[in-house]
């Protein structure tokens, strides 16, 4: 026990006195959480504050085009900036580019006529949408669908207006047939365990993502101390003291498991207490403490095992930190830590499943977002623990082979 105490004390002192390690393990992910949460807040929020500014020119002289724009603006997502009605298309394009608009809407002269058209008479399309090609396809579709929807509503109301005498004769109140102003669709988020209380938010995505990322960055301090011990002869000295490789590995594993645990508490605290101070939504951590401990321990065990293997293979700290950092960034990007998995195309989502970081992230999301419990994170935890055991086994084999050289 006393041996373990001094081993833990030594590793903690080495970490605390290594400003670079503290920065990488605690400061970097905390800053990432704050930046990414605030940057992606609107992307995740249900009641989004995002407003799409649209340059508009209205060539129509009727009232219907004005009603149309008003209806569009009532969605609180689109804001139209009307310019002189005599502006020609080429000039609209120029203004759109120079004033950095992503969209421009041209309402043509025949808009009102088109809304009131009878039968299948041929008309020029009443709307022309100019789009900056950098705009994501999803955003383009949202705007186009809303324009289509509002135009259809207008046409329906115009049709109801034209047959009002017929409706009166049939005893139907035309108001009952008018298009609904409010959306008839209810949106519900579905959570495990039947709870419907939490909304996905930027902080729910950012905290687990950067937490997993920072936990895997344990490779930097582990390889620094491990390789320094080897190159400075400390490792040889320890082995000459009848300290077994297994004990040396455990001596590394236990302190870093505790350091990872401190990281988990610290990052959650950032999400719960600091993010709201900066204007974001507070992190909610679910109801399963057991599940949280299980997935955190599994991520930690696999991260430390991978770090130990890298430290055993690399000859210098530069090699280890380069391999470790590059591997973390690639697996992080692949595993949906930097770009949320749900925005990836299907083949990338499938590819993401190859990254152990993705297993960890999904486990934390099960707990934080989907109200999952131990049984939900068990498969991911088992995968991470198996990976850790394989990496640890390889490390021990390497260390024993070095002795048998």
């Amino acid at each position: 026990m006393i041996k373990l105490f001094y081993i833990l004390k030594k590793e903690f002192l080495l970490i605390v006195r290594d400003i670079h390690a503290v920065t990488i393990l605690f400061v970097m992910p905390a800053v990432f959480i704050l930046i990414m949460t605030l940057a992606m807040q609107d992307l995740f929020e249900l009641h989004s504050n995002v407003v799409i500014d649209i340059l508009a020119v209205n060539h129509d002289t009727g009232k219907l085009s004005v009603a149309f724009l008003k209806a569009m603006e009532e969605h609180n997502t689109f804001r139209f900036h009307l310019i002189d009605k005599n502006t020609v298309t080429e000039s609209v394009k120029e203004q759109m580019l120079s004033r950095d608009y992503k969209f421009a809407l041209i309402i043509k002269k025949n808009f009102s006529t088109f809304v009131n058209k009878k039968g299948k008479e041929k008309h020029e399309n009443p709307l022309e949408l100019l789009v900056n090609p950098t705009v994501p396809v999803q955003t383009q579709l949202v705007l186009k669908s809303t324009l289509d929807g509002e135009l259809s509503k207008l046409r329906w109301d115009a049709f109801i207006g034209r047959i009002d005498k017929l409706l009166a004769f049939a005893g139907i109140d035309k108001k009952d047939l008018k298009a609904d102003k409010l959306s008839p669709i209810d949106v519900q988020y579905v959570y495990k365990g039947g709870h419907y209380s939490k909304m996905p938010s930027a902080v729910q995505q950012s905290v687990p993502a950067w937490l997993v990322f920072s936990m895997f960055f344990i490779v930097i301090p582990i390889s620094n101390t491990f390789i320094s011990e080897r190159n400075q002869g400390t490792f040889m000295r320890l082995r000459s003291m009848n300290v077994s490789s297994t004990y040396l590995i455990l001596g590394k594993m236990i302190p870093y498991l505790l350091i990872n645990a401190v990281q988990v508490i610290f990052m959650i605290a950032i999400g719960v207490y600091v993010v709201p101070l900066c204007g974001g939504t507070a992190l909610t951590i679910g109801d399963s403490l057991g599940g949280l401990i299980l997935i955190a321990s599994a991520v930690s065990f696999s991260a430390i095992s991978v770090a130990l293997l890298i430290a055993s293979i690399a000859r210098t700290t530069e090699q280890a930190t380069t391999i470790g950092a590059v591997m973390n960034i690639i697996f992080g990007a692949l595993g949906g830590l930097m770009v949320p998995k749900f925005v990836m195309p299907e083949f990338m989502q499938n590819l993401a499943n190859l990254s152990p970081m993705s297993w960890g992230l999904e486990g934390f999301l099960d707990i934080f977002l989907r109200n999952g419990g131990v049984s939900d994170v068990l498969p991911k935890s088992m995968s991470l623990l198996t990976l850790g055991l394989v990496m640890l086994g390889l490390t021990l084999i390497l260390l024993r082979r070095q002795r048998e050289v």
């Binding site: 041996k3 081993i7 030594k10 006195r17 400390t234 040889m236 000295r237 000459s240 003291m241 002795r403």
Partner: protein, 249 residues
């Protein structure tokens, strides 16, 4: 007593130690000399149980290295030529850590630490971070850590490398003192011939994996006189190992 018989060791089929036979008397200081790449470090690494030999036998105080490695390691100590401790810890924290790994605790740990602090003359900088130490202070700490378990056998690998004359003299005096007071067997490697002459009872010269000369210091100096015309260990060493540079060995 350390007895090495017909020891062979190779790395990737390249022989490093070839039929080494050597004995070190209990309570003596044996200076081990050899050019770079001669096999000194490999020999010591085998003796301290860090790497394995290919063949041959080694007994330490009657115990077979192959079968009682744990017991041998607990009675020995190794002071590497590198500064094998943690620069971000203080001298006290380093001593506590290595002492605890030697299974020392409580009063025993405290007593051992006090002895080592005294031996290393470290009272005034005990709570200072080691990365702020001078070269001589670091060397003394390196040696003090090796004395924590009060070893029966001490392996010192170039313990005065890169220190000033005062620290060097202090380390050499300390080695002689602990050998005399505690009857500690010491195997001492160095490139400084004068050091070997100053502290050793016996001298062994190793070159290209073979012991080419081994005997009592006085006998060897007499032999140097006969071969070189005066009692110079350095001239004898160069005569036996040749003046060829060993940079690429």
């Amino acid at each position: 007593m350390i007895k090495i018989e017909h020891l062979f060791k190779s790395y990737d089929k390249k022989p490093v130690l070839k039929d080494v036979t050597l004995s070190v008397q209990h309570g003596s200081i044996m200076g081990l000399l050899g050019p770079n790449g001669a096999g000194k470090t490999t020999l010591i690494s085998i003796l301290i149980g860090v790497i394995r030999k290919n063949s041959g036998s080694i007994t330490v105080n009657g115990m077979d290295l192959d079968h009682e490695i744990g017991a041998i390691q607990s009675r020995c100590s190794y002071v590497p030529q590198t500064l094998a401790f943690y620069p971000r810890l203080t001298a006290r924290e380093n001593l506590e850590y290595f002492g605890a790994l030697r299974d020392l605790k409580g009063k025993k740990l405290k007593e051992s630490m006090e002895f080592c602090i005294d031996i290393g003359s470290m009272q005034d900088f005990l709570n200072k971070r080691v990365d702020k130490f001078s070269g001589g202070m670091k060397r003394r700490l390196n040696m003090a850590i090796g004395l924590l378990n009060d070893p029966e056998i001490l392996y010192l690998d170039e313990p005065t490398l890169g220190v000033d004359a005062q620290s060097r003299n202090y380390i050499l005096q300390t080695i002689k003192k602990i050998n005399c007071e505690r009857k500690m067997t010491i195997i001492y490697t160095s490139h400084y011939m004068d050091e070997i002459e100053q502290v050793s009872d016996d001298i062994a010269i190793i070159d290209e994996g073979k012991i080419i000369l081994h005997g009592a210091k006085q006998d060897i100096l007499t032999r140097a006189d006969a071969l070189c015309g005066h009692r110079s260990l350095e001239e004898l060493f160069l005569k036996l190992t040749s003046v060829r540079l060993r940079d690429e060995d």
